[in-house]
C-alpha cells in the first residue's frame, strides 16, 4: 500500500492569476519588474515583497522595481487588508519567482551545455563548472514567462534565504525623506484641473436646490457639476476650486437630514435597533462544573475615525467613453467594479491605477473620492481632474470604525474557575467595501439623480476572520461558551472596515474580564492565562513579554501594570502586550512591552515598526479617541475636536519578535491593537482599583467608574 502525499497546490493569489509574466518580468537591461496585486498603504509591504522576490531569484534587491497595481496589467489580488498581504502576495511571489528561476536555469543549461544542477546564480549571473556563464539578462529574450505557474515548483529552503528574514531598508523611504513626489497628492498630470465636492454638514441631508450664480463668477472656474444631490466644481487651481466651493455652499439648500443616535448612550442605541443575530460559535462542556455565581459585564467602544494625516485624493481623466482613475484605494479591481456600476460602463473601459496615499488603516474615503473625481472629470473636456477632500469631510463623511456594545456573562464555580461563558456583541457591520455587491458602496452613488441606497455594512464570514465577531471566540480553553453577534440593520453613522474590525473591542472585553476573574481568585493574571492556553506559540509570546517587562514589577503607588493577549483573528499573528501606566485620574501610558510571533518575519524591522505603530495608535484610541456627534451632525471634524496622541504623550514601546522562519508568514499590522487596549485597561485597574469598561479611558470615565465602585 502506498501513501500518496497530497498533490501540491498553488498559493491562492497565484491560482487566481496563474500567468508568471503577470507577476515577474526580467529584461535585457538587468532589471527585474515585480507586479504584486497588493498595494503600499504605509505598511512597508512593497519592501517585504521585493525581498522575497530578490531572494528567490538570487538578484540584488537594487535591481527589483516594484510596479504599482493597476487594472491594466496587475494580478487581481482583491483588497490590501486584513494583514494578508505577506501571506497572499508573498507566497504567490515566492512560488512564482522560484519557478522563474528554474525556467532560466533550464535555459542556461541548454545554452551552456551544463547540467542545471551544477549551475549557480549570483545577482542574476548564472555560472557553472569551467567558468561558463550567462545571465538572466542574456537569456531574457529567449525565456518566455507567458506560462501558467506550475504547482510543483519549490521555493528555497529557509537556510538558503539571504534577503528575506533580514531588516532590509524600505524602498520607499528615500523618496519620502527627500520629498520626491510619491504620494498621489504630489503627482501632477499635465493640464491638471482641480475639483471639490459639495457635501452637507447635516447628516443625511440631501441637496434640494442650488443657486449657482455666485459660483459662476469665481475666477478660474471651469465647470459646475450637478447630478441630483451630487454637486461639485472644477477649476484651474486648488485655490479657485476652494473659492468656487465656498460660493456653491452659500447657494445650497439642504433637506433636514436624518437623526443621529444619542452619543451619551451608545450601548442603549446599539441594543435598541433592528438586528440580525448570528450564533458565531458554541462549545458544550463534556462535564460541567457547577456555577455558583455569574459575572455580567458590559463593555463599549465608540465610533473611531481613520483620521489619516492626508485627506483622501484621486485623479481622473476621460477619453470618450473610457476613463482612467488614479487612486490610493486598497483594491483597484474592486473599485473598478463599483465605478463600472455607477458610470454605467463596461469594466474594460475603466483603468484604475494605484498611487500611494497617506497611511491607510482600513476602508477610508479613498474609493469615495475616486468616484468624485470620475464624476467631476466628466465635465472637464478630457483634461485630468484632481479631487481632494477637506479635513472636515474626511472626519465626517468617510466611514468610521463601528461602535460596539459587548456583554459577557461568565459562570464561575465555587473556586472562581470559569465554567460557562456567553459573549454577545451589538454593532453595525464592520465592512461596506466596494466591489463585492450588485450595489455600489461609494458615497456619491447615494447622491446622484438616480441614487443607489446607502450600503448597510455587513460582516465578513467567520472563515475570513469575521467582522463584529472578530476575535470573539476565546482562544483560551474554557469548558463551554456561546458567542452571539447582533448586527444592526440600520446605519445612521456610516461604518466600514477599520483596523482589526471588531477585534479591538472583543479582545478588550475578553481580556478585561479574564483579568477581573484572575484578580477574584488572587491569581497572577499571566499565570491564569497560561493555565488556560494549550497553544505553545501563544504561551511563548506571553512568557516573552513577561520576561522582557520583568513581570511583575514591584507595586508602586501611582504606577500600574496590565497584560493583554490575542492571536489576531485566532489564525494570524500572536501578540502579548504589557502596559505600564501612571496617574491618579488622568492617566499616562509610560511603556508598552510587546512580544509578537508572525511566523517568518520577512523584514524583522518592518514587523517591529508595524507593531510599534499599532501599539501607539491603539494607545491613542484607548486614551483619546471617539467620534463626536449631536443629533444632527458629526461634530468632531477637526484635530481640535478629534485629538490623537501627540509626541509627548506617546509611550516608550519595546518589541520582541519570536522568529519562526519555518512557519508561513502572517501580517503584523493589526496584531497589537486588541492586546494593547486590554493591557492599558488592566493597568488602570492595577493602578487605581477601578475597571473602566467604556472606551476611551478618559479622566471623566475614570471618575465615573470610581463613583460607581464606591
Amino acid at each position: 500500500m502506498s501513501s500518496a502525499s497530497p498533490a501540491p497546490t498553488l498559493p491562492v493569489s497565484l491560482a487566481a492569476n496563474p500567468k508568471l509574466s503577470s507577476w515577474v518580468k526580467l529584461n535585457v537591461e538587468g532589471r527585474v519588474a515585480i507586479s504584486p496585486g497588493k498595494v503600499e498603504i504605509g505598511q512597508g509591504i512593497v519592501t517585504a515583497l521585493a525581498q522575497i522576490a530578490a531572494d528567490e531569484l538570487d538578484v540584488d534587491i537594487g535591481r527589483v522595481e516594484m510596479i504599482r497595481a493597476s487594472t491594466a496589467a496587475s494580478p487581481n489580488e482583491g483588497v490590501t487588508s486584513g494583514s494578508l498581504s505577506v501571506q497572499q502576495s508573498g507566497r504567490a511571489l515566492r512560488h512564482a519567482c522560484a519557478e522563474v528561476r528554474q525556467r532560466f536555469l533550464v535555459a542556461a543549461s541548454e545554452r551552456l551545455g551544463v547540467d542545471a544542477s551544477l549551475l549557480d546564480i549570483h545577482d542574476g549571473t548564472i555560472s557553472g563548472p569551467g567558468n561558463v556563464r550567462t545571465s538572466y539578462w542574456e537569456l531574457a529574450g529567449d525565456v518566455s514567462l507567458d506560462h501558467d505557474a506550475n504547482a510543483g515548483a519549490t521555493a528555497k529552503i529557509v537556510a538558503k534565504r539571504t534577503v528575506a528574514g533580514h531588516s532590509v531598508q524600505r524602498v520607499d523611504i528615500p523618496d519620502k525623506v527627500f520629498a520626491r513626489p510619491r504620494f498621489i497628492h504630489d503627482c501632477p498630470l499635465p493640464d491638471l484641473l482641480h475639483g471639490r465636492v459639495l457635501r452637507p454638514d447635516t447628516s443625511g441631508a440631501k441637496l434640494i436646490a442650488l443657486d449657482e450664480t455666485a459660483t459662476r463668477a469665481v475666477p478660474g472656474l471651469v465647470a459646475i457639476v450637478r447630478d441630483g444631490g451630487f454637486s461639485g466644481v472644477v477649476a484651474d487651481s486648488e485655490a479657485a476650486a476652494e473659492a468656487a466651493l465656498k460660493a456653491l455652499r452659500r447657494g445650497a439648500t439642504w433637506s433636514a437630514g436624518e437623526p443621529l443616535p444619542d452619543e451619551a448612550d451608545l450601548a442603549g442605541f446599539l441594543k435598541s435597533q433592528p438586528i440580525e443575530t448570528t450564533v458565531i460559535d458554541t462549545r458544550m462542556a463534556a462535564t460541567t462544573g457547577k456555577p455558583t455565581r455569574t459575572l455580567r459585564r458590559h463593555y463599549t467602544r465608540p465610533y473611531i475615525a481613520h483620521a489619516s494625516i492626508a485627506p483622501s485624493c484621486a485623479m481622473a481623466q476621460w477619453d470618450g467613453d473610457h476613463v482612467h482613475v488614479w487612486t490610493h484605494s486598497q483594491g483597484v479591481y474592486l473599485l473598478r467594479a463599483d465605478l463600472a456600476i455607477v458610470l454605467k460602463l463596461p469594466a474594460e473601459n475603466i483603468v484604475v491605477e494605484h498611487i500611494e496615499g497617506a497611511g491607510c488603516y482600513g476602508h477610508n474615503a479613498a474609493d469615495d473620492v475616486a468616484l468624485d473625481a470620475a464624476l467631476l472629470a466628466n465635465a472637464a473636456g478630457g483634461r485630468p481632474v484632481r479631487v481632494q477632500w477637506s479635513r472636515h469631510d474626511e472626519m465626517s463623511h468617510a466611514p468610521f470604525g463601528a461602535a460596539m456594545a459587548i456583554e459577557i456573562e461568565a459562570d464561575l464555580d465555587a473556586d472562581n474557575e470559569i465554567v460557562g461563558w456567553r459573549h454577545a456583541i451589538w454593532s453595525n457591520g464592520h465592512a461596506a467595501r466596494p466591489g463585492r455587491a450588485a450595489q455600489p458602496a461609494l458615497l456619491a452613488a447615494t447622491e446622484i439623480a438616480t441614487p443607489y441606497p446607502r450600503m448597510i455594512s455587513t460582516n465578513p464570514p467567520a472563515a475570513n476572520g469575521g467582522g463584529g465577531d472578530r476575535n470573539s471566540v476565546p482562544i483560551y480553553d474554557l469548558p463551554a461558551w456561546t458567542i452571539t453577534s447582533h448586527r444592526l440593520l440600520t446605519m445612521p453613522v456610516r461604518t466600514s472596515a477599520l483596523r482589526t474590525l471588531g477585534g479591538q473591542g472583543n479582545v478588550f472585553a475578553i481580556e478585561a474580564l479574564l483579568d477581573e476573574i484572575a484578580a477574584l481568585r488572587g491569581e497572577d493574571p499571566i499565570a491564569f492565562r497560561l493555565r488556560h492556553l494549550r497553544d505553545e506559540r501563544a504561551k511563548e509570546v506571553i512568557r516573552a513579554a513577561a520576561r522582557r517587562a520583568q513581570w511583575k514589577p514591584q507595586k508602586k503607588s501611582g504606577i500600574g501594570h496590565g497584560v493583554g493577549f490575542a492571536r489576531y483573528k485566532n489564525t494570524g499573528a500572536y501578540c502579548a502586550a504589557i502596559a505600564e501606566i501612571e496617574g491618579t485620574d488622568d492617566i499616562r501610558v509610560k511603556r508598552l512591552t510587546l512580544a509578537v510571533d508572525v511566523g517568518e518575519a520577512v523584514n524583522p524591522d518592518g514587523v517591529i515598526n508595524q507593531i510599534e505603530g499599532g501599539a501607539i495608535q491603539a494607545t491613542s484610541w484607548v486614551l483619546k479617541e471617539r467620534v463626536r456627534f449631536d443629533r444632527t451632525r458629526i461634530t468632531s471634524t477637526s484635530w481640535t475636536d478629534y485629538p490623537i496622541l501627540t509626541f509627548s504623550e506617546v509611550p516608550a514601546v519595546d518589541v520582541e519578535i519570536i522568529q519562526r522562519p519555518e512557519i508561513e508568514p502572517v501580517g503584523a499590522g493589526e496584531a497589537a491593537h486588541g492586546p494593547v487596549t486590554a493591557a492599558i485597561a488592566n493597568a488602570v485597574y492595577d493602578c487605581l482599583g477601578v475597571r473602566v469598561r467604556d472606551l476611551p479611558i478618559t479622566r471623566d470615565k475614570i471618575i465615573a467608574a470610581m463613583e460607581l465602585a464606591s
Binding site: 520629498a179 479635513r391 515598526n609 505603530g613 509627548s648
Partner: protein, 156 residues
C-alpha cells in the same frame, strides 16, 4: 496683483499673487514645490510646515503678504540624496516612518529645533514635535532620528 518677493530655499522668488492666498497654495501650485503637504488647512497637524527664519510654521494658513522678504525653507531646501541633511540621513537610518506623509513637516520641525537648540533632550524633541501629528505611530523612531542627527552634527 502685487508681486511678493521672498527667499525660497536660498533662492530669490517673486510671485504675482493675491496677497491673501496661502503660502502652501503658492508653493504646491504655482511653484511646484510639493514637499509641504496639505493635511488640515487649519494649522493643526504640521504636515505643511515650512521654516521661516528659525521657526517651523504652518504654511496652509499663512497669507502670502506675511511672507514678503522672509527666508522660507521647505523640506526640498534641507538636502538632497547627494547631499542629505543629517536629519534626512538619520530618518533613513532609523527607518523612521510608516506612510511618510507627515515626514516633510517633521523634518522641518526638527531642523528648526536644531537651529535654535543644537543638543536638545528627548523631552525637548517631543515637545517641539507636538505640533506635528503622526497617525501611523512612528513617533519614537522619529525622536531617535532627531537625537541621532543632533549628536552627529555636534560631532562634525
Amino acid at each position: 496683483m502685487p508681486t511678493i518677493q521672498f527667499q525660497l530655499n536660498g533662492t530669490a522668488a517673486a510671485v504675482d499673487t493675491d496677497p491673501d492666498q496661502t503660502l502652501l497654495d503658492v508653493l504646491r501650485g504655482r511653484l511646484g514645490v510639493t514637499g509641504p503637504h496639505f493635511g488640515c488647512g487649519a494649522g493643526e497637524c504640521g504636515a505643511c510646515h515650512v521654516m521661516v527664519g528659525d521657526r517651523a510654521m504652518a504654511s496652509c494658513d499663512m497669507p502670502m503678504w506675511s511672507v514678503a522678504d522672509k527666508d522660507v525653507v521647505t523640506v526640498e531646501g534641507l538636502g538632497t540624496a547627494a547631499q542629505p541633511h543629517p536629519l534626512q540621513r538619520a530618518l533613513i537610518a532609523e527607518q523612521a516612518m510608516q506612510c511618510g506623509y507627515c515626514v516633510s513637516g517633521i523634518l522641518i520641525g526638527a531642523a528648526a529645533l536644531l537651529k535654535r537648540n543644537p543638543s536638545p533632550t528627548e523631552a525637548e524633541v517631543r515637545n517641539a514635535l507636538d505640533r506635528n501629528l503622526c497617525r501611523c505611530g512612528s513617533h519614537n523612531r522619529m525622536v531617535r532620528a532627531v537625537l541621532r542627527a543632533a549628536s552627529e552634527m555636534a560631532a562634525s
